[in-house]
């Protein structure tokens, strides 16, 4: 059985559907990961221990285990405690929380990396603690965290492929639907890989633009 890519156009609609849903899952999970990541970082840095410790425990747990396992936990675990979520939502929550933990680590490090003297100088000039944080620390931290957060986003796009195991019809599962009708795994997985590569290039170009904007504020 040789290779025959001529069957691909006939089933292209599965792949387009996959591209659309991969994009939706990635964007939704990225938004969750961004805001939850900042929240976790602030909690770990500034909240009282009683609140910070559970978050740290959660981060430690999610950094030490594979995403795939976490997706199974969230999908089947929510079902067990009586919350029936559709696979799509479970996938977005799982991806989002997984990368929130990595983002939190980046944001925490980005804030800590701002020199302590900056805060002291701001306070001695009469700024309140909050003013010092929002006007002095944050603008510098943003420059620290933008490149690593971008790397996490690129990793998220690729890892969104994993939600296919829950049955979400994103790009991998779209290719699988085409394969189940044509029995041509090589062709469709290669085409899916090319589409991921294209999405990745678009995302990287977008991130370069953002980085240049952030760098220009220096």
């Amino acid at each position: 059985m040789g290779l025959d890519f001529s069957v691909v156009p006939e089933y292209a609609h599965f792949l387009w559907l996959g591209v659309v849903w991969t994009s939706i899952v990635t964007v939704a999970a990225a938004v969750l990961a961004f805001f939850a990541g900042i929240l976790f970082a602030l909690v770990v840095l500034y909240a009282p221990r009683l609140v910070a410790y559970p978050v740290r425990l959660f981060m430690w747990l999610f950094m030490g285990t594979p995403l795939l396992l976490q997706l199974f936990l969230i999908y089947f675990g929510l079902g067990q405690i009586g919350i029936d979520v559709p696979a799509l939502l479970a996938g977005i929550i799982g991806l989002g929380l997984h990368f929130a933990v990595y983002n939190a680590d980046v944001v925490r490090a980005g804030i800590v990396a701002v020199d302590g003297g900056q805060n002291e100088a701001a306070r001695s000039l009469g700024l309140s603690r909050l003013q010092s944080f929002t006007h002095v620390i944050v603008p510098q931290a943003v420059r620290n965290v933008t490149p690593p957060l971008g790397n996490n986003l690129i990793a998220l796009l690729k890892d969104s492929a994993l939600v296919s195991v829950l049955g979400v019809t994103e790009l991998v599962h779209g290719a699988q639907l085409a394969i189940s009708e044509t029995y041509r795994p090589f062709e469709f997985y290669i085409v899916a890989a090319v589409l991921y590569y294209a999405l990745n290039l678009i995302l990287e170009a977008g991130l370069r633009l953002v980085e240049r904007k952030v760098e220009a504020t220096r």
Partner: protein
């Protein structure tokens, strides 16, 4: 929490964790070898070799590892590559992490100051001698941390081979979640075993780094 059930299934999880360790170790060895080859290509004098090295890194880092495994395992037979799940898992994971290793090794090599090579060359060492005696010993220490980070990521990434039916830790957890409907219990066992392996490896890397790194 059903502790009785957890106690009964734990031996199966431990056996599966051993498979995870084996897969990780073998694909790490392949990944390091690919990383060394990839870095040599990326830094080669021949343009063709450099393009080859860049293509390798770009393709394997630009697409999901899951798709790479599927192309190899499900698509392989169409082009005459018939691998059992374990072999496909090791090769797929190894080729994927090798692309990341390539960048870490290349990064460490170019981070060694150029003057070092120039000084070695002006002292009469050949290009190869300068690389082996002067650049590599310094680069090796710079590599420990990034290669270690990749290795720890590889252990977690090895869960992906469960999708091509390698009976490792995640596969086993998934099977028992399906048959017992106790996701939290099964996750807890698998999580403890993963964290022993992952944080154990991370500690080993930190030790190596502290022992040999410059600074």
């Amino acid at each position: 929490m059903d502790f009785d059930l957890m106690l009964r299934v734990t031996p199966f999880f431990v056996a599966a964790a051993w498979v995870t360790v084996q897969i990780s170790a073998l694909s790490l060895a392949l990944g390091l070898a690919m990383g060394a080859i990839g870095a040599a290509l990326r830094l080669a004098r021949s343009r063709l070799l450099r393009v080859l090295g860049t293509a390798y890194v770009s393709i394997f880092r630009g697409t999901p590892c899951l798709i790479q495994l599927f192309v190899l395992y499900f698509g392989g037979p169409q082009v005459g590559i018939n691998l059992d799940p374990f072999a496909a898992g090791v090769i797929g994971l190894g080729l994927n992490i090798g692309a990341y290793m390539t960048e870490s090794i290349r990064g460490a090599l170019v981070a060694v100051e150029r003057g070092q090579t120039e000084a070695a060359r002006s002292l009469g060492l050949s290009r190869f001698q300068a690389l082996r005696e002067v650049v590599l010993p310094q680069a090796a220490r710079l590599m420990i941390r990034p290669l270690g980070v990749n290795s720890v990521a590889l252990i977690k990434g090895s869960a992906l081979v469960s999708t091509i039916s390698v009976v490792e830790l995640t596969y086993t957890a998934q099977r028992y979640i399906g048959s017992t409907y106790k996701p939290f219990e099964m996750f807890a066992i698998a999580a403890v075993l993963y964290m022993i392996i992952v944080y154990g490896a991370a500690r080993a890397v930190a030790w190596l780094d502290a022992r040999y790194a410059i600074e």
